[in-house]
């Protein structure tokens, strides 16, 4: 059904459309695709592909936080994992600190992993219930060959840094609250002193009072250790709070990429505009007109032709079905993929309740 084509290798010049060319990046991903086969029938033949991430360019500077935001199925978590090669990319190259991760052998990749870590949303599922905190946090050190004697001090130091007292060393994950478990997850990532941390919905499962504790901790750790984050979340307010730059994703593509302040002040893509207007905010007098999009997100197995957002877009024109808009510069590092980028959706916009079948 879908022919997978490898993207031709990029030349030395590293100049892509709409990409700042004369900078070096800690992470520089080009043309990243991740397709999942859909198998059916007795012979488990591949009948289709879920195009979870479909051609993404993403550059992350050392020391910055880039947020990936979007709704379920937009590919943000898949992208986050593919960037660390926790998932094997279908196509594309991922330069981390100058090395193409997609070319590394398993052994080389393992070595590189100590510089790039991940924090998961589900602090219950990602922590082995049979391991004590000491082992959970020290596991990465052991894998990377740090001697037992040196491990203990590193583990204790790290735990203290994330706000867990040392008497917790002998406890199991289930003995902690959600917020504390997330601190263990952060300690696991931090203990290896990585350069890059991908945080995949790290506060989504937490209550608001605990969420702010963890967000503040992540901000402090970044400053103290000069970390670089790729922060994946569905909550635009949270992503906006923690990120320097934000990539908005829709159906496997980045539709807008800008400085956080620019994105909020002047969203260029109609999807970003709708997303921003749809978020309820607890500020008195802020009740404003919502842009309510019609319909659901189409299936990533069979995305619409042209612009993927066009089936729900209030601005869509015939050209949108024919030509896929590239992610292009619209002034000072503000990228958007829309034929009508910058056009505001007239407010109040109210689509019929209708949903395309």
């Amino acid at each position: 059904m879908l022919a997978l084509r490898a993207r031709p290798p990029l030349g030395r010049s590293r100049v892509g459309r709409g990409v700042v060319s004369d900078e070096t990046f800690l992470l520089d991903a080009r043309g990243v695709k991740k397709y999942f086969p859909v198998r059916r029938g007795l012979l488990r033949r591949t009948v289709a592909h879920v195009q979870a991430v479909d051609g993404v360019d993403l550059q992350v500077r050392a020391g910055e936080t880039v947020g990936l935001v979007g709704e379920s199925g937009c590919g943000k978590s898949t992208l986050g994992r593919t960037l660390l090669r926790l998932l094997e990319p279908t196509a594309g190259q991922i330069l981390f600190d100058g090395t193409d991760l997609t070319k590394l052998s398993r052994r080389e990749l393992k070595r590189a992993r100590s510089d790039m870590q991940i924090i998961f949303q589900d602090s219950v599922g990602s922590l082995d219930p049979r391991m004590k905190v000491r082992e959970l946090v020290g596991e990465g050190l052991a894998v990377h060959g740090v001697k037992r004697s040196a491990r203990r001090a590193r583990v204790e130091e790290t735990l203290e840094r994330v706000g867990l007292p040392s008497y917790t060393l002998g406890r199991y994950a289930h003995q902690f609250s959600g917020g504390q478990r997330q601190r263990i997850g952060i300690a696991r990532a931090l203990v290896l002193q990585p350069k890059l941390i991908v945080a995949d919905e790290p506060v989504s499962a937490l209550d608001v009072s605990i969420q702010s504790q963890v967000l503040n901790l992540l901000v402090e750790l970044k400053q103290d250790f000069g970390l670089t984050y790729v922060f994946v979340a569905h909550d635009l307010a949270v992503v906006g709070y923690i990120s320097d730059r934000i990539a908005v994703m829709y159906l496997g593509k980045i539709v807008e990429f800008a400085n956080a302040a620019d994105l909020f002040a002047k969203p260029l893509h109609p999807y970003t505009q709708a997303l921003l207007s749809a978020i309820p905010t607890p500020v008195v007098g802020a009740k404003r007109k919502r842009i309510v999009l019609s319909g659901d997100v189409p299936s990533p197995m069979n995305p619409p032709s042209g612009c993927r957002f066009r089936t729900r877009c209030p601005l869509a024109q015939p050209i949108c079905a024919e030509i896929e808009p590239p992610l292009e510069q619209h002034g000072d590092g503000h990228l958007a993929a829309c034929h009508f980028a910058g056009t505001l959706i007239p407010e109040p916009f109210k689509s019929p309740h209708g949903v395309e079948a």
Partner: protein, 335 residues
């Protein structure tokens, strides 16, 4: 205005080996006719158990204390037998839940499920009920309703399933709709659709609503009044604009300041509420928020504050004993 629902001293406890779990422990509130009340709180605050108690859907080992009163439309629901309560549920009070997939029956079409809801409360024939089911699907904004009525729940998206649940809940024109986290499992653009649908239906059908949520933003956009719960009790209540605009209880204030607002950056530090929610097996003796409160003083640990009136609001904080509280805590910045 008269209260459609008045809950007085609601205590819903669950027996356990380690003593009673006091999930809801002395809750009072009212919902006036035609108004929407938001019940907001974090996990373990007792907000969902409060809703289930009103529906009398609390199962063993949970039970509602004898002295609790749930007065709905002039009748005390706690004194009704199960048969009478069956009539109240659906006919007069309906409830929708967070996850529609688990509330819908996977082996019946959505049309049949709405028709069943209609027939269980009204004496109508099968064909009449089917017609009404399609009408309901249209009312909740499902296109090609006649065709969609023949779909099974798994064939619908999350947002559409929640529309079907709302359709079932409204099939018999209830006076009160209780919605427990109705949009929490949905994406933000789908949440916007469902919130708009609920606002629209509330106006068209003239019903009252009780909206249980952890999302203060949803309360601000949807509700007239709000009840803020913490550790099984109401800490503050009143009109949303006043409670959110000028919170009188330190917990409400801290909650509002701990959420990043759209457009806020790291330069502004988020307020932190230190520690965690206490255990319902062993609530603190005085004010339950005292161990985490930046304003606490000696009396707070000793005696539980009742709800004190502050203009149109009420706040269960000793600082409000003589009206509006003033001054900032010594340790707001420290965390």
């Amino acid at each position: 205005m008269t209260a459609l629902l008045r809950v007085e001293n609601l205590r819903t406890w669950f027996d356990s080996d380690r003593g009673p779990i006091r999930a809801v422990d002395g809750v009072d509130f009212e919902i006036e006719s035609g108004r929407t009340l938001g019940v907001v709180g974090e996990s373990g605050s007792g907000k969902s158990v409060t809703a289930l108690s009103v529906m009398r859907l609390v199962d063993e080992p949970g039970h509602i204390a004898d002295e609790s009163r749930i007065v709905f439309d002039g009748r005390d629901l706690t004194s009704l037998d199960e048969g009478e309560m069956e009539h109240v549920r659906g006919d007069e009070i309906s409830m929708i839940f967070q996850e529609p997939m688990t509330s819908l029956n996977p082996v019946y079409t959505v049309g049949d499920q709405i028709a069943e809801a209609v027939r269980s409360h009204e004496n109508v024939g099968a064909s009449e009920a089917s017609v009404r089911a399609v009408d309901m699907l249209e009312l909740v904004g499902i296109p090609e309703a006649a065709r969609r009525a023949r779909d099974y729940p798994h064939q619908l998206s999350g947002g559409m399933r929640q529309r079907v649940m709302i359709g079932i809940a409204l099939a018999c024109n209830p006076k009160l709709l209780i919605a427990d986290e109705p949009t929490t499992a949905l994406d933000v653009t789908i949440q916007a659709q469902i919130l708009e649908l609920m606002t629209d239906l509330r106006e068209r059908l003239g019903m009252s609503m009780m909206l249980i949520t952890h999302d203060l933003g949803v309360v601000a956009e949807m509700c007239d009044d709000v009840v803020v719960m913490y550790a099984g009790r109401v800490v503050e209540r009143g009109p949303v604009d006043e409670v959110f605009g000028n919170p009188q209880h330190p917990y409400t204030e801290a909650l509002l300041q701990s959420i990043p607002l759209l457009g806020m950056t790291q330069a502004e530090k988020l307020r932190v509420i230190r520690g965690t929610v206490p255990s319902p097996l062993d609530w603190p003796q005085g004010c339950r928020f005292e161990p985490r409160c930046d304003y606490a003083f000696a009396k707070c640990a000793e005696e539980h504050p009742p709800l004190f009136p502050v203009d149109r609001q009420e706040s269960a904080c000793w600082l409000c004993e003589h009206g509006r509280r003033s001054g900032a805590p010594a340790s707001v910045e420290a965390s």
